[in-house]
Symmetry: C2
Subunit: 419 residues, 2 copies
């Protein structure tokens, strides 16, 4: 068996070779491969379930949480969702070749700016095996070769999925190496991957804070992070309180374990005496624990006291930090200080206050009278997404197909030289 570095370098070399073919592959070929992948996943469902059973049994033995086992499971529903996802990506427009702009210079040079794939993308993620086909589909449709490194807990499932997807790609004329899985479980494989600058153009980590930190520290390749969402809802004094209640409840409880769920509620002091008791009752009825500052606890005394640690925390759970603010300035300053520039909302009738919030709060998505839960590629109408970027270069917010591309300048002349 070759060493880890040689193993990973070989993956890189193969991916680079595949990416050249993928970059010029036709939309028809790419779509045919994605549809064949969906068919193959359906056809081979029993084999996938058998491989998944090995992961589930190992998980059971090592005593992982029920939540973890649920995320690991490739049951009939999960498999159907994988197939739907692959077919949906096939139905999305191909971003490659799109002309982003074209102009002519006074010297007659005709310049166009054309979308091209990024090249080779490495995805590093945790337990959920459905990321394997989801990420592969998005990368391949956008003309990128992908190297996938999933969680150790899902290794059997991922190996079975990757083989099947590779065969499907090859059956329709794409290089099998369009997608490759790091099959070796050792941590060193990730470390080596992150310094393979000659072969990998972009690393996308998806997972918990520890994973993202590690990747950011070790990688010499550009990284786009999908990091924490510490999302706020600010209820202005001008808010429609029914609307505010609906939005706060939705942002907190509709799916608390995701990055665009609300983690903190800021309430203007003028309406706090009316709004807070009401929202506290609604949230508690849904099992939400509230942690308030002194102002909030003066109004709802049986609220747990928030500590300094509660501001800026991503609970990913049925917990909400609550603070009473004197004005919109204080709300905006709180978000600037404690937020993670992910998704923040204002509920207000006052257009001036709302527009100020939208302008000054610098998050990947800012909402006026809508739930933070809408910061999502599907909800924005962009189709499937590979994640929600919390970085400030290349892409912010949902990363769908166009965000997995870059561009080149194509310049047509008639013999021009520079003076």
């Amino acid at each position: 068996m070759v060493g880890t570095r040689a193993y990973v370098e070989d993956l890189g070399r193969r991916a680079r070779a595949a990416s050249a073919a993928l970059a010029t592959a036709s939309t028809e070929t790419k779509n045919a491969a994605l549809l064949e992948m969906a068919d193959a996943v359906e056809r081979e469902a029993p084999a996938l379930e058998a491989a998944n059973r090995l992961d589930l049994e190992a998980a059971e033995k090592s005593g992982v949480s029920t939540a973890m086992r649920q995320r690991l499971a490739l049951d009939k529903k999960a498999i159907a969702e994988i197939c739907d996802g692959l077919r949906q990506v096939a139905s999305l427009p191909d971003p490659v070749g799109e002309v982003l702009g074209a102009w002519e210079r006074p010297n007659g040079l005709r310049i166009s700016k054309v979308r091209v794939p990024i090249g080779v993308i490495a995805m590093i993620y945790e337990a959920r095996p459905n990321v394997t086909p989801d990420a592969a589909a998005l990368c391949i449709k956008s003309g990128n070769a992908v190297i996938l490194r999933g969680g150790r807990e899902a290794l059997h499932s991922n190996i079975a999925l990757a083989r099947l997807l590779r065969n499907a790609a090859a059956a329709k004329g794409l290089p099998g190496d369009s997608l490759q899985l790091v099959e070796r479980p050792e941590h060193e494989a990730v470390n080596e991957l992150l310094t393979l600058n000659a072969y990998i153009d972009l690393v996308i980590p998806r997972g918990g804070e520890a994973l993202i930190r590690k990747v950011t520290e070790l990688s010499t390749i550009p990284v786009i992070k999908h990091y924490r969402g510490v999302c706020h809802v600010y209820v202005d004094r001008s808010a429609d309180l029914d609307m505010a209640a609906d939005i706060v409840v939705n942002a907190k409880v509709q799916k608390p374990a995701v990055c665009n769920a609300a983690e903190a509620l800021l309430v203007h002091e003028e309406i706090a005496p009316v709004f807070l008791p009401r929202i506290a009752e609604l949230l508690r009825a849904r099992g939400v624990e509230l942690r308030g500052d002194a102002g909030a606890r003066a109004i709802v005394p049986d609220m747990k006291a928030a500590t300094d640690d509660d501001w800026g925390r991503e609970y990913l759970d049925l917990i909400l930090a609550v603070r009473v603010v004197r004005n919109i300035e204080e709300a905006i300053a709180h978000i600037a200080r404690h937020g993670s520039q992910h998704s923040d909302a204002i509920v207000a009738k006052d257009t001036g206050a709302a527009e100020r919030f939208l302008r000054e709060v610098d998050s990947s998505a800012v909402f006026w009278n809508a739930s933070t839960r809408f910061n999502d590629g599907g909800q924005f109408g962009m189709g499937a997404e590979i994640g929600i970027s919390t970085d400030r270069i290349h892409a912010r917010g949902p990363m769908a197909l166009p965000e997995l591309t870059i561009y080149k300048y194509v310049v047509r002349g008639t013999g021009q030289v520079r003076e």
Copy 2:
């Protein structure tokens, strides 16, 4: 004196605070500051020249090359160019606030995608002090705070420039900390800067290979590299040979020390016997040393033999590697293997060959019948540029004002929640 880390952290904290004000500063305020900067540089020219003299004297004592001393000099011409540059940036459109797209969802949510500044940018560069005002102007116009770290050799010049620019910014109502210079010469200051993730959003290194490598290895902050340009001109068998000669001469000798100058010439074997002797004579008359493969030397026998090291080398000098290729496939494969995805050109009358080259050669700019020297923000009509990105995310090729921004999604609703 505080330690290096504390010193650099303080710069970061100030920059972050300034960036919030800059992000919402009006175009008028930013332009007024840039014009005041130009006036101040003109007014204070004698003080700048005096500071520069200290750097030049130190350079002389340490025996640096004439080329280096030329790059270091802030003479009347350099100062006039700095003022022109500042005024030109003031005249360019402000990218901040541009609406990149707007659409409505079936549920009534109105989404718009709006350009915003990146935030805080750190520029790390080498000797030329004119980079200080050039980079500051581009960053400030695009609403970013900037931390500048110039070469040690230019420290007196840079300190004088930065103080003057800061005062000018403050005089027109921008935070003085919109631009800050790392005034401490020690290397540790750069190392600390590169891990200041809480305060810096993007690092842009400009300079030689060693600098770029170091920054890439040490930075935990996103980096956009302005790296090597190993540019090729391929002369197809269908080329107009007069045009080919003009383009090759221009691409090689018009400014050999820059990244978009040609470093290698690939000639189709059918026209090599006619073209090579002719281009060899033209280039030699301009002092260019040719280094050929066996095919080229069979035609021009007194050409120096190229070694393996010559392919893929960035000479930045009057040297050109020359190879005879059997066909366009071989030319494209050579560029894929040895090029740096910067700027590559084909000279051809054959449209099919040209379009294939433009499609398959994956460089930041690909040229048909034009010199590689046109890969430049000014030449593309984008105005001033901060450099030419060789990365494959965020921006490729010339980085002008829009490339120093990112976007956020602004979502306006009427109480929508997610089902």
